[in-house]
């Protein structure tokens, strides 16, 4: 195998890796070559096999076939400890640090430098940690506990840990999914400096602008198989998308004009000190209203308060003219509210439960007769909705946690659409979802609006906001600072309002 045109030998090379789980084929031909001093992008739809490939690199899974070489020698990792000691570091989307230990203690966990009598050399640890952060060009207090640090800082700590272990290969699995713009830039700066030190980096992301900004090579996977590798300079977004989905994606945001009807939801003066203040707006049937703003501006908190999961101190929520009680999600559901929450894995789904049970959890009362319910009734309903949303699974008793992100999101949507809501709140509906499914979700939301559903969409992706929304409400530090009509909404106007307290109009 020699895909490479570069003079250097690849640091890590995977060729024709196969992996099956029982009767499920996850990988048929995983092929990838990482070169020193290069940042390599791995892209593909959810379920294309990227995560499985990463887990094989990390030693979490063992391959069933194919070759895996590290600096020319074949390796067979049976644990993550082995891959770590061989010089492979994997940074996950959500780092796993010990929250109560200090930054330094986390970096040196399990291999603290010692003085005589086995006493831990705190001074040396401290100095080394400072040195690491200096090399990375970031400022993090090495003595503070990691609890309360942003996800971005936690990732930097993971990277510092990797460098202190002198990792030759650094795999970053969707590291930017939960980061703000500034944090992404800092992460990229760190990644570039690591590249310049001659390490091999693998970057997995669904955001093409990031891939094009950061990476020099891209490998595309589809349906568990290698499709192509090309230098970034010689390809385009359209080309990559075509290779990823195996077809042309006609339009990313197929927004259909929906007839706007009566007011469905009226929120007035909603206030929770420290979270959001005096939030007032309304949503009409057929309308998609986007809540835009920076991460942490309070958008999700507002959504959760409206749905009744979180408390609020003042204000009212009315749906179809009926007051929605505070802190009572069950009552809100009965009145026709539905919330597809931000954190799919923790709030949206019972991951260890089945597709069938998850898809019917929100409508269990409606399916039941006198409170009694059976799996047969649940499966019948789940089957209908799984078919409508084309959830990719063969059986309804499949654990939801084993599905890809996009399919998990389809199950969450099925769960809430089954409640036949009059207002649907979707919080980051396409986060971490591949291009194909993303377009499906957008088409679905658009169709639902045409059918008369009122929709609130919270999104941090500007193209999504601009493409889908009839009206954009910009939230800045817990207040609505601007209301922009579809016609006037531009990337500039929304971003300006999101970063400034007052909008001169």
């Amino acid at each position: 195998m020699s895909i490479s045109t570069k003079p250097s030998a690849p640091t890590l090379e995977l060729s024709h890796i196969a992996k099956t789980f029982g009767s499920v084929v996850a990988l048929t031909d995983g092929t990838l070559a990482l070169h020193p001093g290069s940042i390599h992008a791995l892209v593909g739809e959810n379920g294309a096999g990227k995560s499985t490939l990463v887990k094989i690199i990390a030693g979490l899974y063992q391959r069933d076939g194919g070759d895996f070489t590290l600096e020319g020698t074949t390796v067979d990792f049976t644990s993550t400890a082995q891959s770590k000691s061989a010089g492979i570091a994997v940074i996950y989307q959500e780092p796993t640090l010990f929250p109560d230990l200090s930054v330094t203690e986390n970096i040196f966990m399990g291999r603290q430098p010692v003085k005589s009598l086995g006493r831990i050399d705190r001074k040396r640890m401290h100095t080394e940690a400072l040195g690491l952060f200096e090399r990375l060009g970031v400022r993090i207090d090495p003595d503070r506990p990691t609890q309360g640090l942003s996800i971005a800082d936690q990732q930097i700590i993971e990277i510092a840990k990797a460098i202190s272990l002198d990792a030759k290969v650094l795999v970053m699995d969707e590291p930017t999914a939960a980061l703000s713009g500034v944090e992404v830039e800092r992460l990229f700066a760190v990644a570039r400096s690591l590249r310049d030190e001659g390490r091999a980096l693998l970057f997995i992301s669904h955001r093409f602008e990031e891939v094009f900004e950061l990476c020099d090579t891209v490998t595309i996977m589809r349906d568990g198989a290698y499709i192509a590798t090309s230098p970034i300079a010689e390809t385009t977004v359209d080309e990559i998308v075509r290779q990823m989905v195996g077809r042309d994606v006609a339009e990313l945001f197929p927004k259909i004009d929906a007839p706007i009807g009566d007011e469905v939801l009226v929120v007035s003066g909603l206030t929770e000190p420290g979270e959001f203040h005096d939030i007032s707006f309304s949503v009409r049937s057929g309308e998609i209203v986007a809540l835009a703003g920076l991460v942490g501006a309070g958008r999700s908190e507002i959504a959760r308060a409206i749905f009744g999961v979180d408390p609020y101190k003042a204000g009212t929520v009315t749906i179809n003219g009926v007051r929605v009680p505070k802190r009572n999600p069950a009552a809100a559901m009965n009145l026709g509210l539905a919330l597809v929450p931000e954190d799919r894995r923790r709030q949206g789904l019972v991951l260890e439960s089945s597709v069938g049970k998850n898809a019917t959890l929100a409508i269990r009362s409606a399916l039941a007769k006198f409170g009694f319910i059976t799996s047969a009734v649940e499966n019948a309903s789940a089957r209908t909705w799984a078919q409508k949303l084309e959830v990719k699974t063969s059986a309804l008793d499949t654990e939801v946690g084993t599905l890809s992100g996009g399919n998990q999101q389809k199950v969450v949507l099925a769960k809430w659409l089954a409640t036949n809501p009059s207002l649907l709140i979707v919080d980051e509906p396409t986060r971490g979802i591949d291009v194909g499914t993303k377009a499906e979700v957008h088409r679905l939301l658009s169709e639902l609006a045409v059918e008369g559903l009122a929709i609130i969409m919270i999104s941090s992706e500007l193209p999504e906001v601009l493409g889908m929304a009839d009206r954009v409400l910009v939230v800045h530090e817990g207040r609505i600072t601007a209301e922009i009509d579809r016609a006037d909404a531009t990337a500039e106007s929304v971003m300006f309002a999101a970063t400034h307290a007052e909008v001169a109009s």
Binding site: L349, T374, D397, E399
Partner: protein, 347 residues
């Protein structure tokens, strides 16, 4: 794998029934129970007699009863350690009231009410104050036991109307099966249906696996737990009434340590201590397994401390067994497994 326009089809289950049964925890416990019964009948001479069944059920009736609500409590990820103390408190309540001339049915009703209140106190501290159930019920374990012993001191009330004590020990018609089994079967059906065939039960499982996702799906987590702790209290009080009448003795230290036998039976029956997994038939089999084994060993003149060692070993083995089964299941059906199992159901 690429999208076709034809509607997808979904099977109800990814594996055939026999295979799901084979790797289910309930099947393993029921199998073990059958094995213990067969081996005992062959090797322990006194075992294969009707009287064995009579005493087996009379002895383990309190465990079987309390294991029912305990199963639901543990599936939500909580635990109730105060059950045996509620048994004691209920026993003393019946005793003291009866001593003061209150007829048994009325005294029993008051005892049930006491159990309900005891459970409600547990539930309130856990769901309204937000304390962990382990801490709360360790506290009320001591508190309720202290109240029970304090009310009667070291004395016992033993003068009960023979009608009631005979009723507790009576058998169904001409059979060797005690009447209390009817109570157990009825309550087992009630709790089994509640757990497996109601929306309330669906909420219990969801809470155990992910309280946050349950809350986001409109499950009232606090109310569900509160109700379960009240059920636990009232069934424990019921077991206390039975215990008192069966032995004709109301004492403050009745059923001390019973909570551990109950929890052992529940865990042996395949309920996950981490919540979210388990089934009532398995728990019934687990309780019967512990009871049968103990009674067979006792008939074989094995001392009670040795029986404890064997029961304890069994419990640990069963937990290890669960991990093993989970591993097998992983290997067959889910990511995380290693190579092996050839694809069986393709096309």
């Amino acid at each position: 794998m690429t999208g076709t326009t034809a509607a997808r089809t979904y099977r109800d289950y990814s594996q055939p029934l026999w295979r799901r049964l084979l790797i289910s925890r309930e099947a393993a416990v029921i199998g073990a129970l059958a094995l213990v019964i067969i081996v005992s009948m062959i090797s322990v001479r006194a075992f294969a007699q009707p009287i064995t069944i009579t005493y087996l059920f009379l002895d383990i009736a309190p465990i079987l009863l309390i294991a029912l609500p305990m199963t639901l409590v543990i599936i939500t990820g909580e635990i109730d350690l105060s059950v045996a103390s509620i048994v004691g408190l209920s026993s003393v309540t019946v005793g003291v009231l009866h001593q003061n001339g209150v007829p048994i049915p009325a005294a029993a009703l008051v005892a049930l009410l006491v159990g309900l209140i005891a459970g409600a106190i547990n539930g309130a501290l856990i769901t309204m104050v937000g304390l962990p159930s382990l801490a709360v019920t360790i506290g009320t374990l001591a508190l309720y036991r202290g109240l029970a012993v304090g009310l009667l001191g070291t004395t016992a009330v033993t003068e009960f109307n023979k009608f009631w004590t005979d009723l507790a020990k009576s058998k169904i018609g001409e059979t060797a099966i005690p009447s209390v089994v009817i109570l157990i079967v009825v309550l087992a059906l009630v709790f089994g249906i509640l757990l497996h065939f109601t929306t309330f039960g669906r909420g219990i499982f969801a809470i155990g696996l992910s309280p946050e996702a349950a809350r986001f799906s409109g499950v009232n987590v606090e109310r569900t737990k509160f109700i379960l702790f009240m059920l636990s209290g009232i069934v424990s009080a019921l077991a206390g009434i039975y215990y008192t009448l069966r032995f004709g003795s109301a004492r403050g230290d009745n059923a001390t340590g019973l909570e551990l036998s109950v929890i052992a039976a529940v865990l042996l029956g395949g309920v996950s201590i981490f919540g979210g997994r388990g089934a009532l038939p398995g728990v019934l089999a687990g309780a019967l397994l512990i009871g049968t084994l103990a009674s067979a060993l006792r008939l074989a003149n094995v001392t009670s401390d040795v029986i404890n060692v064997i029961t304890g070993t069994l419990l640990i083995a069963s937990v290890v067994g669960t991990s093993f089964l989970a591993w097998v299941r992983n290997k067959r059906a889910r990511p995380g497994g290693t190579k092996g199992s050839s694809p069986t159901a393709t096309g």
